[in-house]
């Protein structure tokens, strides 16, 4: 593109001003940017997914910019349904109630009728009120076969101390509607037997006939306060506190609990029935997040720590390390390591025992169990020219469950935590204009 003289001068002045004010010279000199990414997600023997993102940002003038983000994902495969293994083949009713699926003997039962697609659209408008105050407002919409969400978000940030300190306040509210196939099951309701012989892979899962049940609502509100501080020429520090509250239908309608025989029954640990889970109808979440980003010897290092707690009894610690290491010819390597540990929810239990009193709430969802998780990844990026960056990355994620209390009867013979191994491949392309 051939710029005429006034435009060249204006571009140069904009770049210099942006550098002085501490924003990206490139980002400010360019009127916009498109970030796109494709993620291939593959769980060993379980869910397979593909997710595409297109993120568009445009600067309208020196005071206003907007962004749009489109996310499309599709997934299929098997997911643990919460039931315990058995020495016998187990048959479960599919979500629609008309078909079933079976789990082989001695294996953690997986619901292999799981399939879904999701479309999410987010929009944000950012406006500078004055030199140091920025406000933003956004909207969110997403839809799946059995789930939809609409939301609003907003925030304000203000710079202090020669623009070395930024305080921010953010908030969001989402109203989600869950429409389980066949309707929302009653808490601790017994799973009915399949109405035909079922069989594996009939394919009527989340993906087909979605939304046939009545909708259940869920409201999710979040607020966060943040402090960003430039420490020195190479170091910036970030601190955030966030509080969120969810209320309404918080169950996973497809998760089960095995009601197993007790020690005095004929086959201790073998299932007698499958019950639907029961979770509280409200949840308060809080987190403290801190991050240090530092420029070291031509590269950057980003280390963050998060402590999370909620009133379901879950506590978690997350440490994340990401580095950007330029190598020759506009290329850069980005190693990423993450460690995560969570404690189990108060009402998490792997199974219920026949004859024992049923608690108010119980879930065998592995995501509410105590476990450790590791992520390790490497990304390679190529700066092709002034406007275009291509990146290719691979990551591995694994979850390792806690060895719970001694199990009953035959269940002592199994590792009851469904171990998860995931391989991810992603390709990204950024174009500035």
């Amino acid at each position: 593109m051939q710029l005429n003289r006034p435009e060249r001068i204006r571009t140069a002045v904009t770049a210099c001003t942006a550098a002085l004010l501490g924003t990206s010279a490139n980002a400010s000199a360019q009127a916009g940017k498109v970030d796109s990414s494709l993620l291939i997600y593959s769980e060993v023997n379980r869910v397979q997914a593909a997710e595409g993102v297109v993120d568009f940002k445009k600067t309208v003038n020196e005071r206003r910019s907007y962004g749009l983000r489109l996310v499309l994902d599709a997934l299929t495969g098997a997911s643990p349904n919460g039931a315990t293994p058995s020495t016998h083949v187990q048959t479960f009713t599919g979500a629609s109630g008309s078909t079933g699926y079976t789990a082989p003997a001695n294996e953690i039962p997986l619901d292999d009728t799981f399939t879904d697609k999701r479309l999410a659209l987010d929009g944000t408008l950012v406006e500078s009120l004055d030199r140091v105050t920025v406000v933003n407002a956004g909207g969110h919409f997403s839809i799946e076969h059995d789930y939809s969400s609409v939301g609003l978000s907003g925030g304000v940030s203000r710079d202090f101390n020669r623009r070395n300190t930024t305080l921010s306040l953010r908030g969001s509210y989402n109203h989600d509607t869950v429409s389980p196939i066949g309707g929302a099951p009653a808490p601790f309701g017994t799973m009915p037997p399949p109405t035909n012989n079922g069989g594996e892979g009939d394919g009527e899962g989340e993906g087909e006939g979605g939304g046939s049940g009545p909708g259940e609502g869920k409201n999710v509100g979040d607020v966060a306060v943040g402090l960003s501080q430039v420490i020195d020429r190479e170091t910036i520090f970030q601190f955030d506190y966030s509080y969120g509250r969810s209320s309404g239908y918080l169950n996973d309608p497809y998760k089960l609990l095995s009601l197993v025989q007790n020690e005095s029954d004929a086959e201790p640990g073998e299932p007698l029935a499958y019950l639907y889970e029961s979770r509280p109808d409200a949840r308060s979440r809080q987190s403290l997040f801190s991050e240090v980003r530092r420029y070291i010897a031509g590269g950057t290092v980003d280390v963050s720590y998060r402590y999370y707690w909620d009133d379901w009894g879950i506590r978690s610690n997350t440490v994340d390390f990401l580095s950007h290491l330029p190598i020759r010819g506009g290329r850069a390597l980005e190693p990423h390591v993450r460690w995560y540990r969570q404690s189990a929810a108060d009402f998490y239990t792997r199974y219920l025992v026949d004859g024992a009193s049923i608690p108010s709430y119980a879930s065998a969802d592995a995501r509410l169990a105590g476990f450790d998780a590791w992520t390790a990844g490497l990304k390679l990026s190529f700066t092709m020219n002034e406007f275009d960056v291509l990146s290719v990355g691979a990551e591995y994620y694994t979850q390792l469950g806690e060895r719970g209390p001694p199990a009953i009867g035959i269940l002592q013979n199994y590792d009851l935590f469904p171990k998860l191994d995931v391989f991810m491949l992603r390709v990204g392309f950024t174009h500035g204009f």
């Binding site: 002085l20 953010r170 979040d222 969120g244 420029y295 999370y308 998780a373 992520t375």
Partner: protein
Amino acid sequence: MKTIIRVMLLVSIVAAAALLGACSTVGVEVWERDIMAKTEMQPDYNSVDRALDDHIYFSKEASSGGRGLGGGGCGCN
């Protein structure tokens, strides 16, 4: 529970105010912002990758929030 939340909020506000006071003595001058202006030093650097990561962790773990705002918006959890 509400008392705990109020105490947490109060502590956060006091801590933020204290940090803000302390912060007035650190930082850089306008002409020292060359490194801060680099793309990889920006707060929204890698935001698409981070969003993809957060979506995965939200669907596989019980925690949410931290860098961004917390939950909702996806039937995956």
